[in-house]
Symmetry: C2
Subunit: 605 residues, 2 copies
Amino acid sequence: MAQVIADRRDIDFVLHEQLQVEELSKHERFADFNRKTIDMIVSEARNLAIKEIFPTWKLGDEEGCRFENGKVAVPESFHKAYELFREGEWIAMCDPAEWGGQGMPSSVAQAAGNYFNGANCAFMMYPALSHGAGRLVEVFGTDKQKKLFLKNMYTGKWGGTMLLTEPEAGSDVGALTTTAVRNEDGTYSITGNKIFISGGENDLVENIIHPVLARIEGAPPGTRGISLFLVPKIWVNDDGSLGEFNDAVCTGIEEKMGIHGNATCSLTLGGKGKCRGTLLGQENKGMQAMFVMMNEARLLVGMQGFSCASASYMNALNYARTRIQGKALVSSDKDAPSVPIIQHPDVRRQLMLMKSYVEGMRSLLYYVGFCEDCIRISNDADVKARYQGMIDVLIPVAKGYVSDRAFEICSHGVQIYGGYGYIKEYPQEQLLRDCRITMIYEGTNGIQAMDLLARKLGLNKGQAFKNLLGEIGKTIEDAKNISGLESLATGAEKTVSKLGEVALHIGKTAGSEKMLNAFAFAHPFMEVTGDAVMAWMLLWRAAVAARKLAEGKSKKGDTAFYEGQVKSAQFFINTILPVTVGKIAAILANDGAAVEISEDAFGGK
Amino acid sequence: MAQVIADRRDIDFVLHEQLQVEELSKHERFADFNRKTIDMIVSEARNLAIKEIFPTWKLGDEEGCRFENGKVAVPESFHKAYELFREGEWIAMCDPAEWGGQGMPSSVAQAAGNYFNGANCAFMMYPALSHGAGRLVEVFGTDKQKKLFLKNMYTGKWGGTMLLTEPEAGSDVGALTTTAVRNEDGTYSITGNKIFISGGENDLVENIIHPVLARIEGAPPGTRGISLFLVPKIWVNDDGSLGEFNDAVCTGIEEKMGIHGNATCSLTLGGKGKCRGTLLGQENKGMQAMFVMMNEARLLVGMQGFSCASASYMNALNYARTRIQGKALVSSDKDAPSVPIIQHPDVRRQLMLMKSYVEGMRSLLYYVGFCEDCIRISNDADVKARYQGMIDVLIPVAKGYVSDRAFEICSHGVQIYGGYGYIKEYPQEQLLRDCRITMIYEGTNGIQAMDLLARKLGLNKGQAFKNLLGEIGKTIEDAKNISGLESLATGAEKTVSKLGEVALHIGKTAGSEKMLNAFAFAHPFMEVTGDAVMAWMLLWRAAVAARKLAEGKSKKGDTAFYEGQVKSAQFFINTILPVTVGKIAAILANDGAAVEISEDAFGGK
């Protein structure tokens, strides 16, 4: 039967054949997660996603959210799906059981998230933001805060959000003007206006806990003076009972290009001077707390974008197999029957592009989860640090590069449908619209590129990036010894060695008087890094697949699947990497036009 | 004052400094179109676009079209704009005065179209399709047909459409099943179902004339047996008066991703057995007639996409100049004031990308119009043929490459707005949605790429493509002699010489047993051809600008503008062309993965 949202065979391949996550169960922490359990988790996530969440996707797009008198109604169909999602305990998949979590490996949670986000990423924003806010409480909360809030958040009884952006403080968080004044009882009075708050107000949950970034009176300007507060929508008394409504009022929701089912709210805090919150973590350490949560949040956004691409690929593939249009190009018989469009070369080119990126991105995202798992099972500080470095370097790629490519993939998914791709009766245009936000929120992709260049490239004196190149190198060395992959390995090696060269170059330029030049190439540098990571993942997959094929014991369906893995690597390395080499050449050329041009010369006046 | 929709200075530059269209007025045909007249036309088009059409753009998106009982109501605001558009005689800008046209040069009409389509391309579909249908009548109609229909169509009293697509016949027009049976009175009875008909039914006009592709009983299958008919919505009596309603009934309209203001209709012809039409042109020559009109239609779609990109660039530029966010990257002073985002390198990179493509695309589209003008003023068959060859080769680029790039440019336009780019309060997301259709209709961009490879590359034994390379070569030779442009000229020359190489390679491959491989690279080949054309146009512009700068007499504002021209060429040649070289390398590598992979190996089952 045709797969939807994601290819189960491919998910199983990454989990069990590429990453071998079952091995994690040898460690006490993940002892419960043997192959059977993992498969059951993925199957249950898949069922819930396809049967209950996916049907809300188009409905949610059409219905949108309604705002009236400070209240927000989410699409009607979201309520049942949300209850089932809560019942299945899917909100805190990787968190401790004592707070309502399932304690599963993050790699496995990525597979579940793949299905959930592909089914309806607008819906998933509600539980995902709740979880993110919960994690802040878990990591930075006092015992009392944890006791009051955490379990209700992780079990989805209450929601959570993140109040960060203000009209004049978006990418520049440090410019925020929301203030906090300490009261005699230890709480803080908060005053300010926040915008772009996903799920900031909604009728799915009884209460909403808002982590809020604000500046305590007298604190330094910029990010140095920002603190984090917990501001509940309804005050929570010390005994856990609900008190009065807090003075945190939703003043409106945005009309957006996509993710209509998610309420993007504006909130006014302290409009009547009565908004109360409690400090979360230390004074003036709010930004550091944000940074701790950022990897998780950015990985999630990458997963959202990728899941749209994954669904778009499945749809395009199913469509191309069944849509009859035109003769086979090789046929000279004018009366030959028409064929499914999957036989046309340009459709195949687009499908191969979609396939190879979707597979590479899936491996990357699950691998980042796997690195988290490896940190959790290790007692060795060096091993932990090494995996953490890998995560830190990969996060801008997993968010920025992945969401950029995901949008392109979704556009190909529209194109393969032809005119039907543009109309709402078919799913492809909504995936494209929903996907577009992932390039923007949780730090625009420009910010991701700056993060890679300014923070991650030099992390641990460049060791983290070197370790990434080293891991890629290992896969290449391995592939060189596999029959049929030798030339692919050599092809990848050439590009990766050029990546090392351009990394040195741009790192050096960023520290020179030509610094602005380097930053004008930050985004292209993220692209070529991402390309190399894709090639790595695809070559790794091909190596696994080629070995299985060589064993000659794979089942019939599996043979085609494994051959498809080798083809993805072949396509990417021989067709995409030459373009990567061109991009690297452009970065090395280091042209200064973009930074030299005067503001007037841009025209338009 | 900040420019909107399009940069007037840049439009004037292309018309008067790059193409020198005023020279056309030396020829009798265009004697009325001196500089003053041309400037007045552009100013009037600009005023109408900004003051009357642009305000209908967002309204039309929100309101959309309404379908009820076979009737379609367009957005309310379109009515006044349409009347003004008619009054200004903008429908048939280049056509003979005797039929209601203005007879202006096509190059000038492109400038006007730039403003109109940038103001509201959904609105523009109505008059543009009417004009296209009118052109069919003008070229293929009998005297009687012209007398009955043409002036009413060219003056916008009546509308026109194109009934081509059927549910099972999209890209493969030859698969259509609509039939025509000759009646005793010489008319034909038409029966069939047509879809995706832009403006197929609407309340802007008194009557709608539908050119319909159908197969006469007994005609051969495929495209060889297709004829073209004129089917009026309301029958037109021989004295020009309106008769009874024809049996051509609108059965619904599509909900789409964008261009909501344009009604995309399904029409049932002959549901009651009473749909009548008259033959337009010769029996079984319907496809040839279509081909005659295709260049105009495809140039228009390129213009639509480009105009969205042009508007998106203007918006992004104005936003970047006024949006304050973040400190200057070079500043080490933590208390330094925040700056407009146009100072940030990644924003500049995106603006430069937008600028250079928008300028290159503008020059290309106007140049295609200019080639049409040169055909019209020439009496020399060789000269005419040469320009026609140039148009034929450039059309797939002007439609396919331009709409691909335009969509990317619109996406950058969203990105520069950050979160505001995704919300409907700002214009950028609508431009992205509207623009997306241009990659699909009037032949998907996959079809455009096949057209370039299969028809245009070998046109006149390859002479047309060689002439294109020759024209580019002339500009390069000229630029080599201009101080400051030498290295840019050399850079462009390298890429163009590689383009010649890859054209030979792919042309040869397309004629070999590896034919499918070649077609799997048809789209990349269109991309690299387009890149070379962009480099040509930008270098041509830079040459003009550098000469003006060298004269040292330009006004203050002009100096910045001319410097900006050199910067665009510098950016494109040094930053984009290295990537083009990589793309060429990938085509030359000619990897077969996309055509070799088995259908099963794509997965998803």
